[in-house]
Symmetry: C2
Subunit: 696 residues, 2 copies
Amino acid sequence: MAKFLRHALVPMALLACAPAIVPYAHADEGMWTMDNLPVKQMQDRYHFTPSKEWIDRVTKASARLALGCSASFVSADGLVMTNHHCANECLQQLSDKTHNYFQDGYSAKNPAAEQRCPAMELNQLDSITDVTDRMQAALKGKEGEAYTKARQAEESAIEKECAGADAKTWRCDVISLYHGGRTALYRYRRYQDVRMVMAPDQNTAFFGGDPDNFNFPRYDLDMAFLRVYENGKPAKVAAYLPFDAEGPKDGELVFTSGNPGSTEREVPLADLEFSRNVTVPFVIDNYSALDGALWQYSRESVAHHQEAQERIFGIENSLKVYRGRVPVLADPKLLDAKAKSEASLRDWINADEGRKKTYGDPWAKNAQALAVKQQIFKPYIMLEGSFGLQGDLFSYAKLLVRGAYERQKPDAERLTAFHDGRLPALEAELGSIAPVYPDLEKTELAFSLTKLRQVLGADDESVKQVLGKAAPDDLAVSLVNGSKLADPKVRLALWKGGAKAIEASQDPMIVLARKIEPQARALRKRMDDEVAAPSRQATEAMAKARFARDGVSSYPDATFTQRLSFGQVKGWDENGKQVAPFTTFAGLYDRATGSDPFKLSKPWLDAKGRVNLNTPFDFVSTNDIIGGNSGSPVIDAQGHAVGLIFDGNIHSLGGDFYYDESTNRAVAVDSAAILESLKSVYKNQALADELVKGHL
Amino acid sequence: MAKFLRHALVPMALLACAPAIVPYAHADEGMWTMDNLPVKQMQDRYHFTPSKEWIDRVTKASARLALGCSASFVSADGLVMTNHHCANECLQQLSDKTHNYFQDGYSAKNPAAEQRCPAMELNQLDSITDVTDRMQAALKGKEGEAYTKARQAEESAIEKECAGADAKTWRCDVISLYHGGRTALYRYRRYQDVRMVMAPDQNTAFFGGDPDNFNFPRYDLDMAFLRVYENGKPAKVAAYLPFDAEGPKDGELVFTSGNPGSTEREVPLADLEFSRNVTVPFVIDNYSALDGALWQYSRESVAHHQEAQERIFGIENSLKVYRGRVPVLADPKLLDAKAKSEASLRDWINADEGRKKTYGDPWAKNAQALAVKQQIFKPYIMLEGSFGLQGDLFSYAKLLVRGAYERQKPDAERLTAFHDGRLPALEAELGSIAPVYPDLEKTELAFSLTKLRQVLGADDESVKQVLGKAAPDDLAVSLVNGSKLADPKVRLALWKGGAKAIEASQDPMIVLARKIEPQARALRKRMDDEVAAPSRQATEAMAKARFARDGVSSYPDATFTQRLSFGQVKGWDENGKQVAPFTTFAGLYDRATGSDPFKLSKPWLDAKGRVNLNTPFDFVSTNDIIGGNSGSPVIDAQGHAVGLIFDGNIHSLGGDFYYDESTNRAVAVDSAAILESLKSVYKNQALADELVKGHL
């Protein structure tokens, strides 16, 4: 397991408000949209130009897990390859008192034995349509609230037309690229019947644990295989990636196709300073405290350990990312370059009256937006971002309350997440049979209520409203004990009952969510109208000015939509020491200590005599990836799968802000390691055969 | 309880490397040394000039608790007034299964019943001697290691001469003021027999808990009374502060006499940037994680709650301080002013060949020191600062191991803490009968070993040496279970046995401390020779240049030595709302919710009918204080005690870097509240009488 899943913990709006345009792409840099690949660059550097057939196959064989990961089809019978850490929620949800699939691994004897993941949705990209003109026409001349509303309405209309009557089959997302310089409609085939095929044990998938996370050399078999079903049968898919039994060679040209979540390579300097001075310290502070609390919680019993493990992984993974941002955001090289580039653009605008009129002063506009953001940052993140009200039960309650109110409005006036086209996914979420752990719920809620009071202060009106005269611990216990929302039937009944059922509900978690909804909504409205809207307009103006001046287009900042990166298998120089690009199975046995997280599982201990120790295990390449790329296939020039992305090295943590080919490396499992481990360690010949043959 | 004790958790060397000179003191600003009071300023602003008798009495009636607090004598019979949060360690150590003095309060019926605090030392300032010339002669022309050694040797010699044969009675500290612009010898009378007289219950002392910490209005009775003994009898002291039964008035001139720990008001900009980019993020990250772990630990049982409470208080208090630094260190006003001031000084030096020769380029020298500091920061703080090896048992082991090796050297070559004059305090620490809690030890050690591996990486040689093939949890359990160091007799025997006993010891904690000692020492040496020495020389050169140019002297940055501040009782304007300077007992009853930390204790619930609700409770004043001032008396122009400092308001958190009279406020308990609560709530007429009469 590792960390290239998209962070789900902090509201994205706060952390990645403003993607932007990269004027020049260097070397192997770039997360390219499939309809605008850098063919000249690829040809110049690697003497390779992908055919239309190659692009089509790679596009259609790529997929996205709605929870925030990437994936690919690797057989005609709907077999999906992704990371263990992208499937861990499902593995945990399928586990019971006798089976701990998350810890011990999973292996279905045959398709009939493959169990359905309770809350997994897979999206396969079907088409991309340019809707830039339509969106710009709808937004013209609008500001603040009017802008937010017009944007919501137009997105709703476009998505509705796209999905048509069949929102269960199609998912349509309007995506803003290049800061609204372009708007695109992404249409996805939606698979909600996703079943577990195979996953190795956790020790092997996440060998080295948090200490080795983001490091290399590495020895992780961070893989999982799923299968999508249609009408109760393995789905026949139009495109898949043939599996390469050998893996790539040192220096070989390789691609990744995946869904990088977000980057901030072209956000204004003021936004980086805001991150450095406000967001990053706040997130590290609060995640570290939660990490500490859950660390102790998981030491209390085997059950607590099991319940908290996946959550801890997510938090520690995010923490490594945020810690990585601290030195980057303090690096004068980055900050000075950005200051210089912005100053020159500002001078260029101000040198001409026409340009001044066209672009205005986007820096002043952005600064004003950031001032509002600063003002509402803490209440927003605590109340609307729910950092002050954590746990599954409150999340359900909030979704139910907001969903009930939102669905009373016409589609065009709703928040994006509640458009008709998005409702099936929400309903699936509410119907999830994933277990809710009362002890963990109480701990998370008591923790977050304590934080709520600490961060906003005991005299804050919302804090008083939530806590009344109760202590956080007591309130958490009574809320969790009193709520029936752990039962999916109860949740679905409330969902179907709409606003009337919500208003009538005496469930204490619903009562709390109802009570806090007005403040949370008000904060959301300010963030949308007074921060996001003007900030987007400001960065859009900067981007347009840059286009007008330089006439150069490149790849847009990441948006959790499909992107292709190219690069080569290659080590790097670490303070004068060359890091080799491959590890082998032998290295895994060498690194094992016998104790967690460097403990070998039984299958590997047993296999030591028969496994080929020279099998390449993990490798690094220069591909430009970021969180969200977890589970991306590594593809060779023939369009075959030669590896499986699961992480980046420590230098890749700067990748949010810039790409440095000399040290930034993607980390992948070698396809040869996947095959050899299936055959010699996990004795799953059937799956190995399906991979090699490309069908069941 | 609150937070103006000096932070003990992070090695001071890392956090406050370079105190310096403030060229102009404004308004009520200043932490003045007793031999250089701003008499003109006081006269101009308040028409008051203290008499020699006033200064003498205040000086001698002030005291310092070795653990990091301030205190004062309030009766001729050795009665000492300080904060509850300065006595909480003692209260906890005196507690047993039937008495929880920390939680429920303490009250000795008469002096014979006063119990001795197991590990408390009180120092009373006896004299200050200028040793600047002697020190400068010893250091002349020295650099790096030679500088460090010469400094150690000269300090040792001065302190030895000062304490003479009677190091048990006298403590002598060489203190560098104004960056070595002046060096002073502080000689203290040492009291090691300190007994507990009275402390209120924790609910009242720390009413509002962490949420209200650093806030005002406030309702805390953060007081404790101790008594120093000589030869088994209450000590007769030469000076004490008569107790004022009324408390101060709004606008009244008041003083505080205490021991502010450290400020960084004149450290170079580069040091502030280092704090912002490295120290503050690291400390917040790691303290928050520990805070979270202990938060959960304390929820596990009543015993765990009791064991961890004092530790949690210290951590949360430090966290508030560090969180307060985040916006201050990002404030362009502060940073720009400092950049400008340094640029002008640099220009002044460079404008003249003679000055260039005299002062050199102290900024370059300092930058080089900071580069080394950056490089060794994490290993230093984890291994030498022991953040990676926490718990009382390891601390004892480290002290024993280092002490054994240091004591083999001649006094002049030892680290300051191991000079002959300091040994009695160390011996007292090792002989402390304070309980060691095995569960808490295991938790802290497992936590810190996990952090050690996380921060330095699994491949770090020291990490491998400490952990071997063990998991942090398993190692912590075996170390704590296997060690006998919880027993003071065992510790004292090892201390007396010296290096031979240490080398022969099989105690696993000693074995570990022995193993890590060479790396820890090497890091210490680099920090001393390559960071502290050149950094001190650099800031000294800057200070001297400033003196030469401006000819202005002011107060030195804080050094945990006695300082006087002056100011007045005064509220402040908080975003347009006036905050009144006083609270009353009635406000306490209003704010109570019935649940922790806003819960009234039984004595207060019972007293509601008879207590005078109009009694002033806490008040704020413009006095310039900082961590370490906890327990300082507030003194009026007559030299009487009118209050007891225990905290600052939220704006005081900027006080590390600057003093802003408009909002920075000290928070104190009113002397009237102390008397009224003793009489009407705690029914301790004897103590009230002693305060009023000034003797038993």
